[in-house]
C-alpha cells in the first residue's frame, strides 16, 4: 500500500511516498529526518496492526517547506538514504 503524503499547488508537486507493504517499521527514517517530520503510525494491513513510517499530521500541509531543506530533487534525502527496503520515495516536481 503506497501512501502519498503531500500536495500539488500552483508552484509544483510535493509528495513523500511511503510503501507500507515494504516498510518494516525500523524507524531509521524517523531518526534520520533532520526536521523530525516523520513518526511511526499504526496502519491496518491484512487485518493486522502494523507500525509504518508516516509524515506527522502537522507537516502534511506544508511539506514543500518542511522537506525543501533536504533538496529532494537529488533523491538523497536522509529519509530515503536511511531506508534499506526502499520504502521511502520522494516525488518532487517544482514547476
Amino acid at each position: 500500500m503506497k501512501i502519498h503524503y503531500g500536495y500539488s499547488d500552483g508552484s509544483g508537486e510535493y509528495y513523500l511516498v511511503i510503501d507500507a507493504a515494504t516498510c518494516n517499521g525500523c524507524g531509521q527514517c524517523v531518526i534520520q529526518c533532520p526536521r523530525k517530520a516523520l513518526e511511526l503510525q499504526t496502519v491496518l494491513m491484512d487485518l493486522e496492526d502494523k507500525p509504518v513510517a508516516a509524515v506527522k499530521e502537522e507537516h502534511r500541509k506544508k511539506i514543500k517547506y518542511t522537506c525543501g531543506a533536504c533538496k529532494p530533487e537529488e533523491q538523497k534525502a536522509p529519509c530515503v538514504a536511511a531506508c534499506k527496503n526502499n520504502a521511502v520515495r520522494i516525488a518532487w516536481k517544482a514547476r
Binding site: M1, K2, I3, H4, Y5, S8, V43, L44, K61
Partner: protein, 297 residues
Amino acid sequence: MSQKETTGFWRWEEYHRVFPERKKKGLITAGVDVGSVGSKAAIMIDGEAYSWAVKRTGSNSPDSAIKVLGWALEGTGLSVADLKYTVGTGYGRVNVPMANKAITEIACHAKGANFIWGPTVRTVLDVGGQDIKAIRIDETGRVTSFLMNDKCAAGTGRGMEVFADLLQIPIEQIGEVSLKVDKEPEPVSCTCVAFAKTEAMGLLRNGWSKEKVLAAYTRAMALRMANLINRVGLEKELVITGGQCKNVGIVSRIETIMNVKCLPSPNWKENGLDPMVAGAFGAALLARALYLKAQAG
C-alpha cells in the same frame, strides 16, 4: 422571507433505511463513519446490508455517532448490545464511543466500494465534506495506493454547500443546474472555497448567470479531482463515493476530463446501496472480518 427559507439551500436530506425481510440471524456487525459533514452508520448481518442511516454531523462527534447508530438500529428490533463488533471510521473515528476499533476511512471506502460495485473496481474517488481521497484497490477491496487531497477543503462537499447557499439553489439540484450551460465556461481560477466565493460574486456582478458561475466552479473542482486521480494513476473501473457521487455535474465532468465512464451509482433510492454510505459498509465488513479473526484465535 423567513430566516429559514433564505439559509436552507445547502441542507441535504437525512434518511434511514431498513430491510426487514432480510434475515435477522447471523453475525451482526456495525460500521460508523463520522465524517466532517455527514455521519453514516450501517448494520450488517453476515456481510449483508441490513439497515443504515445518514445524518448531518453535529458539533459533537460522540453524540453524532450515538445518534446515527441509534437511527440505523431503529425499526430493526436490534439494540447496541446485539452488535458483535463495531468499527468506527472517518474524520471523527476516535470519537465513536461504542467502537471496538477505529480504522482509517481509506481502508473502509476501499472495502465499501468493492462491496457496492463488485471486484472490477480499481480506482475509488471519495469526495467527502472536507477532503478528497483517490484510492487504488485490488479485486478484493484491498488498498494498493492512496492520496489525500492537499491543503484545504477546496473542491469538496462543503464547498458545494457554500455555493448552494450563495446561489440560492437547493443542494440536490446543484449538479443539474451546473450542466444547464450552452458552453462550458472557463473554470474559476481559485479552488479555495473562500476565494472562489469572492470570484463567483465578481462574476455574478459582471452579469454571469447562476448556471454559468456554478458550471465554472464545478469544473474547477472536477479538474482538481482529476489531478488527484492522475497522481495515483487511473485504472478502470472508476467509482465515486461520498456525498458528491450524487452531484451529476461533478460526475459527468470527471468522465469528460478523464475520458472514462464511472460505474453508475446503483439505484439507491429504491433498493440499492447508497455510495455515500460506502465507508460505513466497509467498516461493518471489516468489523466482521476482525471479529471472525479474533474468534479463530
